[in-house]
Amino acid sequence: MEGKLILLVEDNPDEETLTLRALARSGIDSQVVVARDGAEALDYLFGTGAYAGRDTTIMPTVTFLDLRLPKIDGLEVLRRMRADERTKLLPVVTLSSSDEKHDIPTCYESKANSYIGKPVSFIEFTETVRQLGQYWMELNVPPGI
């Protein structure tokens, strides 16, 4: 998976640790960039703020986007990504820890590529992450190639 990159947008440090752990345990060794709120995610993607000067020709192969984020929430991040030429086609998987069904159509209307509910059991979550990694990093052909 050389040159492949995951952008993980997650504000909860526990969730971050567990997701990174699940990625490592599922043998996904891509580089992972973590953005801890929506503003940071947009700064990374567009090379602004703390990421000013970043080479924005390098874009994540997939973005794992938590919906509940401080400052700019996940849906708003998604909308702004879809409104910008540079990011409008990037694969985005929205992750939610709730099972509130009304989030789901909203995510797809905002052009998410996938919606995943995070299970409470870490063993199940690791399996979810393994399948996500396999699909989005290996099977799926990204739009830019």
Partner: protein, 280 residues
């Protein structure tokens, strides 16, 4: 208002209605509707927050317990590992409780969509599904054909799912398990039933059957959150029907439900309504 002349006298006849009371009632209704809408919105926001914010810490508890088991198994020793397995199992149980509670509250709020519902088809697909979940179990299903009625299909699916899954669960120790879905007449309306030859329960406790978080079996024997039958009862009541059960310990259980009210005080019912008290 009318005007007339009689003997050089001009007479007016009019009707005066005091509109104050009607206006007041109208205003009050509008105020109530607004308050209800606000309360519903608040409840929705509350349950949204519950489902998000209560699950996140559970994911941490479960995940880091697993991390300890994975990374520090040797240092933990056997009893340490056992404790962590219990922590993990509890976090999963609590997640299930949260899901069931939210389901219960959603069922109360959701709007009913009346349609013709093919109950036999729903029961058949649920039976196939539970059988797939444990293919090693030998269970005979008898699903009566052609049972259909007016109701909300999504909610009735929840009812049959709960009743058939319960039968599946409580027949686990029965080597020749038998689960049946059918209908009888009760007070002039169809009473649908799910019958099994499983563990059953003591009718003395039947009053607790449909209360949320009420369980008649220890978790060690049969797992569950005790919300399933509360959900069933709520759905059936929303349909204007009744739900009740008949059972004896180790002699199986039969759960009946109707989807409309029968003839009141009807004596023609074939079914002995022993357990009917708790349904109403």
């Amino acid at each position: 208002m009318s005007e007339s002349w009689s003997g050089g006298r001009r007479t007016f006849i009019g009707i005066i209605t005091d509109e104050t009371e009607r206006k007041r009632a109208e205003d009050e209704r509008a105020r109530h509707a607004l308050a209800l809408e606000a309360a519903n919105k608040e409840l929705e926001a509350f349950s949204y927050s519950v489902s998000h914010d209560l699950r996140a810490p559970l994911r941490s508890i479960n995940g880091f317990s697993q991390a300890l088991l994975d990374d520090c198994a040797d240092e933990l020793g056997e009893s340490g590992q056992d404790y962590l397995h219990r922590v993990k199992a509890s976090s999963e149980h609590m997640a299930e409780l949260i899901d069931n509670l939210l389901q219960l509250s959603r069922i109360t709020r959701s709007e009913m969509k009346w349609e013709q519902v093919d109950l036999s088809a729903i029961a058949g697909s649920i039976a196939a599904e539970v059988q797939r979940s444990q293919p090693e179990r030998q269970v005979r299903f008898d699903i009566a054909e052609g049972l259909a009625d007016q109701g909300d299909g999504r909610l009735l699916q929840v009812v049959l799912d709960n009743l058939l899954s319960n039968s599946w669960k409580f027949t686990a120790k029965q080597p020749q398990a038998h689960i049946e879905f059918g209908a009888e007449r009760f007070d002039g309306v169809p009473a649908y039933f799910v019958r099994d030859n499983g563990a059953g329960f003591d009718m003395a406790y039947s009053g607790k059957l449909f209360g949320a978080f009420q369980r008649l079996h220890p978790t060690s024997e049969f797992e569950g959150t005790g919300v399933g039958l509360a959900i069933v009862q709520r759905v059936i009541h929303r349909h204007g029907g009744k739900v009740w059960a008949e059972s004896a310990v180790d002699r199986g259980a039969t759960f009946y439900f109707t989807l409309k009210t029968g003839e009141e005080n009807g004596s023609g019912g074939k079914i002995n309504l022993v357990g009917g008290r708790q349904s109403g």
